[in-house]
Amino acid sequence: MLTIKAALTGVFAFTAATTAALAEPKTNLLNQWSEGSDAAAIAKLGEMFTAAGGKWEQTSIAGHTANTLAKLRADVVAGSAPPAVQLKGPEIAEWNETGKTANIDQIATAEGWDKVVAPDLLPVMKPTGHWVAAPMNIHRINWIWGSTKAMEQAGIEGLPKTWAEFNADCDEAIAAHLICISHFSQDWTDATTFEVVVYGIDQSLFKKAFVEGDTAAMRSPEMIKAFEQYRLMVSKYMDPGIAGRDYDSATAMIAKGQAVFMIMGDWQVGIFTAAGLKQGTDYQCGQAPTDWGKPGFILNSDSVVFFTQTDPDYVEGQKLLAHLIMSPQFQTVFNQAKGSIPARLDIDLKDFNPCQQQSQKDLQASIADGMLVRSMAHNMTILQKYRGAILDTVTSFVNNPKMTAEEAANAMADAVDAQK
């Protein structure tokens, strides 16, 4: 009897161990990159996953981010949370609080992520001290792009370094019958341009108002000054057609030399490249104007968050996926086409575009100087409910010429206070 029992126990133990060892890694990445170069980049990740022996599946949801988040919530509520989801910023912390995220400390410590990931990203990926997300890239928001053709026509030598130079350059552009800023008004683009203005005027104002969400800072005279600069830009240096324009029309304005400058994040490199434009001959890149003279960096990072799974195949898949995302190979290939730089600081960017190489240098300099901030417009700092209130106010300001800078600053602070 005992022998049979022992034998059976042994068989069960052996089967269990073998099953765990034989668990085939599989995954289903929920993401919102459903079309174009973004989709191609995710496809590369899938290729790497399959090549490493895993079973790759992905669900890419089109349209607004809200659609992806709606599917995530529906899946969580239905009890089948996806194994991997593209999430970022404070949302990682919020989902962590629900207790449904999975801990990937094991692989993170084994591969030494704490040493190679940019320090400002660590609290985002480890909201309570444990790794729950793997960062895929670092985007820089505070770029200014110049149309070489238009700059020549307006007689502008180089990209402006301060806001005063910027305004002077724009006046020259207008004298040459050109549009100074190519812009298309949507809530995120209006906010992107505005946060670049605020950051360039006063970095500590940005920290207080947009990173910490301090409403007193939002009402301050410095913020009103920022709104005044923005009002000047919107009313004088942009054209009336910003409300109906779409992204490619705005890019076309730079390509054709109808507009001189564009304030946009580094993914613009990918868009220029896809449109056949070359850095230097067709467009130039530079740090967006700052009044304080040092290298600065507004950071945005896409990441993949892992949710707890019961199926061992999915658990194995999460480990494999996390490993692949942080691998130097993926970080290089993924970021080269998109215009961003790797989230790992130890990767050589020799084959990257000169703008991207500059981006990495500025990243390290701004970390050293303490000038690095995370982006509010791209959902890396405050909670979505506050960010939503700010975005509503900023985009209203852009589209309502009668709103004064003071009204806007107070409206923004009031809207955020109402959410508290």
């Binding site: 349209g63 607004h64 981010t65 809200a66 659609n67 988040l69 709606a70 919530r73 969580v76 509520v77 949302e91 919020e94 989902w95 609080e97 629900t98 008004s185 949507q186 809530d187 009336p240 057609g241 910003i242 409300a243 109906g244 324009r245 779409d246 029309s249 909670l383 979505q384 409910k385 939503g388 209130a389 509503d392 985009t395 209203s396 300001f397 852009v398 589209n399 309502n400 409206a411 809207a415 109402a418 959410q419």
Partner: protein
């Protein structure tokens, strides 16, 4: 066989037949109820269960995921302190009024025109009906192309030589909502037309002949005889149009993205944004309940009026 059973129970043949019939009748009386039960129960859960759940959630502390701690009316206060909600709610009423009334008007006009024994009726009818076959998403996207100053109608007219022409409905805060109304009418007036055409065809010809004999002209005939007799059709069309209006979401996303700024934001869009983008499920649920309340503002008076009217008819008849 049942008859035999009944008889063997001591009943006379006549009584047995009655017994057999009433037993089968009794069983038969259950069948309709059973047949409709699954569908009816599912529908009632859908209509009332979902609404009650949303009502409870609107008074809970739900943020990222639904949680069930009761907090009273706080989410409603949070909701109404939002500028964007106030704009959205106002837009709903404004849009619905124009959309329903104008769709009715255009549909009726088209139906009357086609009813004049025009040639090629099938062609006209198909032309006006086909927009209904297209999804609101696609409609919004294609019309956004048309409304775009850079590549749409304004660009076309300018390239034809008229250089000062502007057609910028969607880029102006004050007129963007008219773009949404116009596109909505384009989509739905074909349905109104189809229903009115059906109604016009089913008007009693004797009534019309009598009016003609009395010397009434065509306009008078329409106003006094035909339109009143298709009254019920107005109701049906309004019901369908209203439910399109309250669900307005895809059209806004595709045409204006709620802009310029937040000028054309709609309740359905804001509910979606609150619940899924901003992780404010309780406030989103409160907004959803307010949407249903807006609907009740229209439906409840109508229901009361129908009841009052049928009581009056019963009293008179």
């Amino acid at each position: 066989m049942r008859l035999n059973v009944a008889m063997s129970n001591g009943l006379s043949p006549n009584e047995s037949i009655h017994a057999k019939a009433s037993l089968r009748e009794k069983l038969g009386a259950w069948v309709p109820g059973l047949a409709i039960a699954p569908g009816a129960v599912a529908s009632l859960i859908y209509v009332f269960g979902f609404t009650l759940w949303t009502l409870y959630i609107s008074m809970s502390n739900s943020t990222m995921l639904p949680t069930y701690k009761f907090v009273g009316l706080k989410p409603y206060f949070d909701l109404w302190s939002n500028q964007r909600w106030k704009i959205a709610y106002g837009n709903l009423f404004y849009f619905s009024a124009f959309y329903v009334v104008l769709s009715l008007a255009v549909g009726l006009a088209l139906a009357i025109a086609i009813d004049q024994r025009v040639r090629g009726e099938a062609v006209w009818r198909t032309i006006f009906l086909y927009p209904l076959a297209v999804s609101f998403v696609v409609t919004g996207v294609v019309w956004s192309w048309l409304y775009s100053p850079d590549a749409g109608i304004e660009f076309l007219v300018r390239s034809l030589g008229w250089h000062g022409f502007t057609f910028r409905l969607t880029t102006n805060r004050d007129t963007a909502i008219y773009a949404i109304i116009a596109t909505g009418i384009w989509q739905s007036s074909g349905f109104a037309m189809a229903l009115f055409l059906a109604g016009l065809r089913s008007v009693d010809p004797d009534l019309v002949k009598a009016a003609q004999i009395d010397g009434a002209g065509p306009a008078r005939i329409y106003r006094k005889v035909i339109l009143p007799s298709i009254g019920p059709i107005f109701v049906a069309v309004v019901v369908v149009l209203l439910q399109f209006a309250i669900k307005t979401f895809d059209l806004v996303v595709a045409l204006t993205r709620g802009g310029p700024g937040i000028a054309t934001t709609f309740p359905a869009n804001y509910v979606y944004d609150l619940m899924f983008q901003r992780g404010e499920i309780a406030v989103g649920a409160a907004a959803a309940i307010m949407m249903l309340a807006a609907l009740a503002v229209v439906l409840v008076p109508y229901a009361l009026w129908t009841v009052w009217r049928s009581r009056r008819e019963a009293a008179h008849g």
